[in-house]
């Protein structure tokens, strides 16, 4: 049996020896910390699908055009196990060991905020795929650029819709996961609701990892809300929607973010998905034409379907979006020089399949209006903004 241990150790030694990264400049090396294992692995898989599709398309077209040369995209992934400190270490490793030119962010607001400090120290531009909380961007960093618009771009149009369609609605209940993004989002909803004269009659947080929401929802029900807003991740929102129905929580409008924009969420809750509203930064109905490798939103959706067999959701799309933004910045700069690319990113004005993307002073996208969605007859429909709406907002719940 000693053989097992011995050969295992010997094998490891060999693996250790053969791991010096070849780094000749015939490629653009981009580092992407990914949550492959752990709590965020569903999102990690999605992001990776987006990255891969973009890489495939660029490399098939010859690569990224840098001056008169074409450089292939070389993506380096490491699993940060859904642990923020590990994400920081991965970012550090990518910069110092893999010697990447640029970085994509880890998933979500918390890890992005933490990893952005590393990127800033090293002066490496980092494109954030999935951070939308102002708290991530208000650190004065020059290297962080996020393709999502901030959280208030969700709460404002939703509050407008509810206000317009339900003039008698006054009472709002908010249940938030006690975590950076969901909590920040809930605070925006509270602001938007108060601004329009709603009473926030219930505002509670639930702990990360909460299995059962019966007690919170019982109290929420007792507050007799007209409009219910719950924030969290997909598993939280599956349970919350189901338990709200079990407890006969009433209300005229039910907003859950993020979850309902994912097909898995709709499959998991079935008929209870009906009339739930949500918002996301991208939806396949988008009709942008673009200068990027995809050419248009429609073409992106088509390619995505061909490769993965399903329509892209906003997380999958954001994985490709960070790619096309970075690519356009590099091509405009005509160089891999980080200062030049950063300057191009700051200038903004990228026409992408994801939408027109420019960044505000703090580096968060502020150039497009994310769609408000509602599940109607089992399908995701866009109910705002009016230009791309596929249906009208419905009130009431099953």
């Amino acid at each position: 049996m000693k053989l097992t241990v011995r050969s295992a150790l010997a094998g490891l030694m060999i693996m250790a020896a053969g791991n010096v990264a070849a780094n000749a400049k015939d490629s653009v090396v981009i580092g992407a910390p990914l949550p492959v294992t752990g709590a965020l692995s569903p999102e990690g898989t999605k992001l990776r699908q987006g990255y891969e599709l973009w890489r495939e398309q660029v490399n098939a077209a010859g690569g990224v055009k840098v001056g008169d040369r074409r450089l292939k995209v070389d993506l380096r992934y490491y699993d940060y196990q859904s642990q923020t400190p590990r994400a920081i270490q991965v970012a550090e490793k990518l910069i110092t060991d893999d010697k990447v030119d640029f970085l994509f962010s880890p998933f979500g607001s918390g890890a992005t905020k933490a990893a952005s400090a590393v990127a800033e120290k090293a002066g490496v531009p980092m494109i954030a795929s999935s951070a939308s909380s102002k708290e991530v961007f208000d650190q004065g960093y020059k290297n962080l650029f996020g393709v999502y618009t901030d959280n208030s771009t969700f709460s404002e149009p939703l509050a407008d819709l509810v206000k317009a369609k339900l003039p008698n609605a006054r009472r709002v209940a908010i249940l938030a996961r006690n975590d950076l993004y969901p909590l920040s989002l809930a605070n925006e909803f509270e602001k938007s609701a108060k601004k329009r004269g709603f009473d926030v009659v219930f505002f509670e947080k639930y702990a990360i990892g909460t299995l059962d929401h019966a007690s919170a929802l019982t109290q929420l029900r007792a507050a007799k809300p007209d409009w219910i807003v719950a924030t969290g991740y997909i598993n939280d929102l599956i349970t919350i929607r189901k338990q709200a129905a079990d407890l006969k929580v009433g209300g005229e409008a039910f907003t859950l973010i993020n979850g309902p924009a994912y097909q898995e969420w709709i499959s998991a809750v079935g008929p209870l998905a009906e009339n739930v509203t949500t918002a996301s930064w991208f939806h396949p109905v988008a009709r942008y034409s673009s200068d990027d490798v995809f050419g248009s939103s429609a073409k992106f959706v088509e390619l995505f379907k061909a490769k993965y067999g399903s329509e892209p959701d906003f997380t999958q799309a954001s994985g490709s979006a960070v790619g096309v933004v970075l690519q356009q910045a590099i091509e405009r700069a005509g160089s891999l020089d980080r200062d030049k690319v950063r300057a191009e990113l700051k200038k903004g004005g990228f026409k992408t399949f994801f939408g027109p993307i420019s960044f505000s002073d703090i580096g968060i996208a502020d150039s497009y209006v994310p769609p408000v969605l509602q599940i109607q007859d089992g399908k995701v429909q866009v109910v705002a903004p009016a230009e791309i709406a596929t249906s009208t907002f419905r009130t009431g719940l099953k």
Partner: protein, 288 residues
């Protein structure tokens, strides 16, 4: 009325907690193993139920014993071929073994099933029992009832069958039992298999209630731990009482302190209990 509903909520989730904890408690009691695998086994049971429902339309509440039976075989094999080699070692060793197995099983499920959350969607939906101002979700009642039937069957098996007596004998004095002709190795294997049976059927029962994903396993494991400490290590009735107790405590914790503090109350009580009565509410040397 609010209080009554909160109490009912607590009891309704408490029944599920009892199902989660019983297998863990059995393995702990008989084999003296802290089975880190337990949470992942519950998830695996959930997947079995999910696929059985998806492909053959079998109701997960009826499928639960079958899921348990399939996993029972696997559990016996795992114990007989792997864990048995370290049964005589200190419990830290067996714990590390199950820790390693757990990493492997979790990662395998992630690779096989992906981490996307799924849920068994019953059609028609089970609905609720509406008792005036109190509502009780029907699926939780069904799950708890099936769970309690299985738990009772397990308790009867341990108490009244020859095999059950062998398990208790081995638990009390392994060497003496061996001298009396009990096949200790086999007894351990089957006892572990029974623990896995309970985990698998619990997973099937939960598959229509909570989302299924490999990343959910740690949550179930930590619930099982807490319940067993409350109820008493290794005691089956203790696990049931502990499950209901935790459900009610959490429920009232959320009401009195706010949902984000739901667990705080449970943990404070837990620490107090540990300091005063470490063997738990029903912990005794005897069994069943």
């Amino acid at each position: 009325m609010l209080w009554l509903q909160v109490l009912v909520n607590g009891l309704a989730v408490g029944g599920l907690y009892a199902c989660i904890a019983v297998g863990f408690s059995l393995v702990w009691g008989v084999l003296n193993i802290i089975n880190i695998l337990h949470g992942s086994l519950i998830v695996l049971g959930g997947y079995l139920a999910f696929f059985a429902h998806q492909y053959w339309g079998i109701n997960p509440f009826l499928f639960a014993p079958l899921a348990g039976a399939v996993m029972f075989a696997g559990g016996v094999a795992l114990q007989y071929c792997v864990i048995n080699h370290v049964m005589a070692r200190p419990f830290l060793i067996t714990l590390l073994l199950t820790f390693g197995l757990n990493l492997f099983l979790d990662n395998s499920m992630l690779a096989l099933f992906s981490a996307d959350y799924r849920k068994v969607l019953l059609n028609p939906a089970p609905g609720v029992f509406d008792l005036g101002s109190i509502v009780v979700p029907a699926d939780r009642i069904y799950a708890t009832l099936v769970g309690l039937v299985l738990i009772s069957a397990l308790a009867l098996l341990l108490r009244f069958t020859q095999f059950g007596r062998a398990i208790i004998a081995v638990r009390m004095d392994r060497d003496a039992a061996a001298l009396l002709g009990v096949n200790v190795r086999w007894t351990y294997a089957v006892a572990f298999g029974l623990g896995v049976f309970m985990a698998g059927s619990a997973g099937a029962l939960l598959s229509a209630i909570f989302p299924i994903s490999p990343v959910a396993s740690a949550g179930y494991l930590s619930k099982a731990f807490v319940i067993c400490v409350i109820g008493g290590l290794g005691s089956i009735p203790g696990a049931v009482i502990g499950g209901f107790a935790l459900g009610v405590i959490e429920s009232f914790g959320a009401l009195l302190l706010g949902p984000e503090h739901a667990l705080t109350l449970a943990f404070v009580l837990l620490i107090a209990l540990l300091a005063v009565r470490p063997s738990g509410l029903l912990g005794r040397q005897g069994f069943a």
